[in-house]
C-alpha cells in the first residue's frame, strides 16, 4: 500500500491569526455598544469610515506590492486597526479626518514597513498621531456623555451623520453648545487654573472613579480584555505592566500631593488606559515578545502615559507612549532574551 509523505509534525496547528483578530473584534463589541449609548451614533460612522479606508489602503498597497489583497484582508488585521482608531476618535469626526488616520496607519505605518508582521509601529496609533498633528481642532470636539442631569444639546442621528460627511453642524447648534471637555481635559485645565482635585472631581462630568460614561466604557473594555486573556489571545504581561507603570507613579504622586494630583483610579478609568492595556499595547507585532520583555514594555507605556498626562501638553498620552515604546522594542527584546536551557550565565554554550 502507498502513502503520502509530509514533514513532521503531522498534527495541524491549533491557532490561527484570522481567528485571533476576529476574537479581538468580538471583544470590542460591548465597549462599542456602550460608546454608542453614551456618545451617540458617531462612533458607528467613524468605524465605517475607518474600515472602508483601512480596507482600501490594504487592497491598494497589496496590489502595488504585487500580492494578493484577498490574502491580506482575510486576516482581519486591517479591521482591528480601523476599530482601534474609531475608539480613539471623538464620536463627532469628519470623514476626511478619520480617512487620513486610517490611510496613514495602513499605507505608511503598516505596508511601507512590509505589511502585517513587519510594522515597527502600531498602525492605529500612528494614524491617530497623524490626526493629532494635522487636525488637532477636531479632536477637541467631544460631545458630553448622555446623562440626564447634564444640560446640553443632543445631536440626532441625521445631524451626526451630516457632521461626519460635511464637518458642519446644523444651524441650530454650535460647537460650544454640543461639546464638553473630556474628564482628562477638565482635569488638566482645572489644575492649570489652580483648582484643587476636590473641586475638579465635583464637576458634573466626573463619575465615581473617572469620568461619567467614560468609566463604563472602560469597564466594558476590561470585560472584553479579560475575555481575551481567558481565550489566551493575549497574555497578562502587557496589561499588568501598563497598570503597574501608570498606577505606581499615580499613587505615589497622589499620596504626596492629594490636592494637585488625581488618584490612581482616575488614571485607570480616565482616557484610553484600559483600551491601551488590553487592546492597543497588546498588538503582538509592535510589542516586545518575551514575557519579561512584555512586562517591561507595558511598564514603560504606563510610565509614559502618566508622564504625558501629568507634565506633558496633551491631556492623554496613550498614542505617544505606545509609539515611543514601539521604538524601544528591539532593545528590550535583545536585553530580555530568555536563558536557553543548558547555556551558562553569559548565554554561551559551555
Amino acid at each position: 500500500m502507498k502513502f503520502v509523505r509530509h514533514e513532521a509534525p503531522y498534527v495541524a496547528p491549533v491557532a490561527d491569526v484570522a481567528s485571533m483578530m476576529r476574537q479581538v473584534l468580538f471583544a470590542l463589541v460591548p465597549a462599542g455598544l456602550v460608546h454608542v449609548w453614551y456618545f451617540g451614533p458617531g462612533f458607528i460612522f467613524n468605524l465605517i469610515v475607518a474600515s472602508i479606508f483601512c480596507i482600501a489602503g490594504e487592497v491598494i498597497m497589496m496590489r502595488i506590492r504585487g500580492r494578493s489583497p484577498a490574502k491580506a484582508l482575510s486576516d482581519y488585521s486591517a479591521l482591528v486597526t480601523a476599530a482601534l482608531l474609531a475608539f480613539a476618535l471623538p464620536s463627532l469626526t469628519p470623514w476626511w479626518v478619520t480617512a487620513t488616520g486610517a490611510l496613514f496607519g495602513i499605507v505608511v505605518a503598516k505596508h511601507l514597513y512590509g505589511g502585517l508582521g513587519f510594522n515597527v509601529f502600531n498602525p492605529a496609533m500612528a494614524g491617530y498621531v497623524v490626526i493629532l498633528v494635522a487636525f488637532p481642532m477636531y479632536l477637541n470636539v467631544w460631545v458630553a456623555p448622555r446623562m440626564g442631569d447634564i444640560d446640553y444639546q443632543y445631536l440626532s442621528f441625521l445631524q451626526t451623520l451630516g457632521y461626519t460627511l460635511t464637518g458642519t453642524l446644523p444651524d441650530s447648534a454650535t460647537i460650544d453648545a454640543i461639546s464638553r471637555a473630556t474628564p482628562l481635559d477638565a482635569m488638566k485645565s482645572g489644575l492649570n487654573n489652580m483648582r484643587t482635585i476636590a473641586e475638579i472631581r465635583a464637576l458634573p462630568l466626573m463619575g465615581d472613579f473617572g469620568g461619567r460614561g467614560w468609566e463604563w466604557i472602560g469597564n466594558l473594555t476590561a470585560v472584553g480584555g479579560f475575555w481575551l486573556l481567558i481565550r489566551k489571545i493575549i497574555r497578562w504581561h502587557i496589561p499588568v505592566g501598563v497598570g503597574i507603570g501608570l498606577l505606581l507613579p499615580a499613587t505615589i504622586m497622589y499620596l504626596v500631593g492629594p490636592d494637585s494630583n488625581p488618584g490612581p483610579t482616575f488614571h485607570l478609568f480616565g482616557g484610553a488606559t484600559i483600551l491601551c492595556a488590553f487592546f492597543i499595547a497588546t498588538d503582538p507585532v509592535s510589542a516586545a515578545t518575551s514575557p519579561k520583555g512584555r512586562l517591561i514594555y507595558g511598564i514603560g507605556i504606563g510610565i509614559l502615559i502618566y508622564a504625558i498626562r501629568r507634565w506633558g501638553a496633551y491631556a492623554d498620552g496613550v498614542a505617544f507612549a505606545v509609539l515611543l515604546m514601539n521604538m524601544a522594542v528591539p532593545a528590550i527584546d535583545y536585553l530580555t532574551r530568555p536563558h536557553i536551557v543548558g547555556h551558562d550565565e553569559q548565554g554561551q554554550q559551555p
Binding site: 502513502f3 509530509h6 514533514e7 536551557v341 559551555p350
Partner: protein, 477 residues
C-alpha cells in the same frame, strides 16, 4: 499481543546511531533465532541478530524508515516458521558475579540500542558513562510522544524485567540510586512497578511521578524535570551525573544478560484512525508494517499517511514494506492532516517561545534562518533545538518552524564541514610549502658544503674528479 512469525523478515544492518553492522551470513545460509547475522563494524555500532529461524534469501537495498526514505541495505530472511533458537550456554552466570567491564562487553554483544527512539548503541553509552562521576540512573518510563503507549504496556506486563535491568545497570556502573520516572496518568504501570519493587526490596529503586506534558520524555528534559539540573548545551546527561535509559532498554538488557536473548523483538504501538484495531503488539524486529497491520485487522479507509514514530517527530514513509526496527516505538497510520490554511508572516505573538522546552525564541530563529545568519542562529541556540514540533503546533501564522530549523541545522553543518575542509586544505598547502622550502634549503646547504669541500681540497682534487669523469666516459664508450 505477540505478532506471529511472519513469512519474511527484513533486517536493516543500520538500525542504530553509528556505522552499519557488517553482514556475516551468506545468501542461502540457514540461520537460527537469536543468531548473530551482522557484527559491529567501526567504532560505534551494534550487532544484528536473526529474529527467527529461516533462510537468508538476499542482502539488498530495501525501503526503511528514514527521513528521506531512501532504501538501505537489509538482510532478508525467508522464515521457516519453526522459530528454532540458537543453542544457549548451559546457564547464564548471575550478573552480580560478573565484573562491570565483562558485563559491559557482554551487553555490547546483545545488539541492544536505546529503545526510546534514539537508538544509540547502549554498550557504548555505558562505556562512555564509566568515565563520568554518576549519581543517578534515570529509567525513562515517560512516553516519547502523544499516541504512544508502548512503554506503559511494557511496564505493566514486564515490570520485573524492567527493574531487573535497572539492577544490572546499577551494578555495571556502580550507581547507588535509580529513579524510575513514570507519568502520573499511568496508574496500572505504577501499581505493577510498586508491586515488583516491594518484592525486590531494593531501597536504591525509587518511583518518581511526573506530569504528562510533551516532550518530557526527551533525555535532557527528563533530567531537568527530575533533578532540576540543566544538561549543558552540546553536553550529555552524564556530564551532570545522570545516566538515562529507556525502560524498554533496561528490559532488553535483562533479557540478554539473564535469559541470553538478544534484542530481536520489541513492544510497538500500532495506532491511528487508519488501522482497524489500534493496539500495542510485541513484534519481531524485521517484521514489515504490512504484516503487523494485517495482524491487527488491516487498514481502514482513513489510512493515507504512514508514520514510523509519533505524530510530532515520526518519519513519514510512503510504503508499508518498511520493516519494524529497534527504533520503532510507534506505527501511526492516519488520515491526511487537515490543511491549516496558508503560511503567513510571523506576527511575533511569542507563543512558540512560551511552549519551547529549551526556552529558545523560535520566532527570532526563524528570522535568522530566513536570513541565513549563521552567527545569530548559533547565539540564539539553534543547535539546542530538539525538534519537538511544539512551536509548529501553536503558530497562528502556520509557519513550518521545525522543518525550517531542520534545514537551517543542515546548512550550519554544511558550513562547518566546508570550513573544516578549507582548514585542512590550507594546512596541507602550508605543509607542502614548508616541505618545499626545507628541501630547497637542504639542497643549497649541500651544494654549499660540496663547494666548500672542493675549494678546500684544492686543484688537485678537481683534477682528480675530472680524471674520474674522463675515466667514466671512456668506460661507457
Amino acid at each position: 499481543m505477540d505478532v506471529p512469525v511472519p513469512g519474511q523478515l527484513v533486517l536493516p544492518i543500520g538500525q542504530h546511531v553509528g556505522d552499519p553492522a557488517q553482514p556475516i551470513v551468506g545468501i542461502g545460509e540457514y540461520v537460527l533465532k537469536g543468531q548473530l547475522i551482522a557484527e559491529v563494524h567501526g567504532t560505534l555500532g551494534a550487532p544484528v541478530h536473526a529474529s527467527s529461524s529461516g533462510k537468508v534469501v538476499s542482502i539488498e537495498p530495501w525501503p526503511v524508515a528514514r527521513r528521506f526514505g531512501e532504501p538501505a541495505p537489509c538482510i532478508v530472511i525467508e522464515c521457516d516458521g519453526k522459530d528454532r533458537p540458537v543453542e544457549l550456554a548451559e546457564i547464564a552466570p548471575a550478573f552480580d558475579e560478573l565484573p562491570p567491564d565483562v558485563l559491559l562487553q557482554k551487553i555490547l554483544h546483545g545488539g541492544i540500542v536505546g529503545l526510546g527512539g534514539a537508538v544509540f548503541p547502549t554498550a557504548q553509552k555505558l562505556m562512555q558513562a564509566t568515565t563520568c562521576d554518576l549519581d543517578y540512573l534515570l529509567l525513562n518510563g515517560v512516553e516519547c510522544e502523544p499516541y504512544i503507549s508502548c512503554d506503559d504496556v511494557l511496564m505493566r506486563e514486564r515490570a520485573a524485567e524492567v527493574l531487573g535491568g535497572a539492577q544490572i545497570l546499577m551494578h555495571a556502573l556502580s550507581i547507588d540510586q535509580c529513579y524510575i520516572v513514570v507519568e502520573s496518568d499511568k496508574p496500572e504501570a505504577l501499581h505493577r512497578l510498586a508491586e515488583v519493587m516491594a518484592e525486590l526490596d531494593d531501597e536504591r529503586l525509587v518511583l518518581k511521578l511526573v506530569p504528562t506534558i510533551y516532550p518530557s520524555g526527551g533525555e535532557d528534559q527528563l533530567v531537568q524535570l527530575v533533578t532540576n539540573l540543566e544538561v549543558p548545551s552540546a553536553g550529555l546527561p552524564t556530564d551532570i551525573g545522570c545516566l538515562v535509559q529507556n525502560v524498554g532498554t533496561a528490559a532488553a538488557i535483562y533479557d540478554w544478560i539473564h535469559d541470553q536473548e538478544p534484542l530481536i523483538s520489541r513492544v510497538t504501538t500500532i495506532t491511528g484512525n487508519g488501522v482497524a484495531a489500534p493496539m500495542n503488539v510485541r513484534a519481531r524486529i524485521g517484521t514489515t508494517v504490512a504484516d503487523v497491520v494485517n495482524f491487527v485487522g488491516g487498514y481502514t479507509e482513513h489510512a493515507s499517511q504512514l508514520i514510523m514514530g509519533g505524530p510530532m517527530t515520526g518519519k513519514s514513509v510512503n510504503t508499508d514494506r518498511v520493516p519494524l526496527v529497534k527504533a520503532t516505538n510507534c506505527v501511526l497510520i492516519m488520515s491526511e492532516t487537515p490543511s491549516p490554511g496558508p503560511e503567513i508572516a510571523c506576527i511575533r505573538c511569542g507563543e512558540c517561545a512560551a511552549v519551547c522546552p529549551v526556552q529558545l525564541l523560535p520566532q527570532q530563529l526563524f528570522w535568522y534562518a530566513c536570513a541565513d545568519d549563521e552567527k545569530s542562529l548559533r547565539s540564539y541556540g539553534l543547535t539546542d533545538c530538539i525538534e519537538c514540533g511544539c512551536c509548529d503546533l501553536v503558530c497562528p501564522s502556520h509557519i513550518p518552524l521545525t522543518a525550517d530549523f531542520r534545514k537551517a541545522k543542515g546548512r550550519i553543518r554544511e558550513l562547518a564541514d566546508e570550513k573544516a575542509r578549507a582548514v585542512r586544505a590550507r594546512q596541507r598547502f602550508e605543509a607542502r610549502n614548508e616541505r618545499l622550502e626545507r628541501d630547497k634549503r637542504q639542497r643549497e646547504q649541500e651544494l654549499a658544503r660540496q663547494k666548500k669541500h672542493a675549494k678546500a681540497a684544492g686543484p688537485a682534487a678537481i683534477a682528480e674528479i675530472l680524471k674520474r669523469k674522463q675515466q667514466q666516459k671512456e668506460d661507457e664508450d
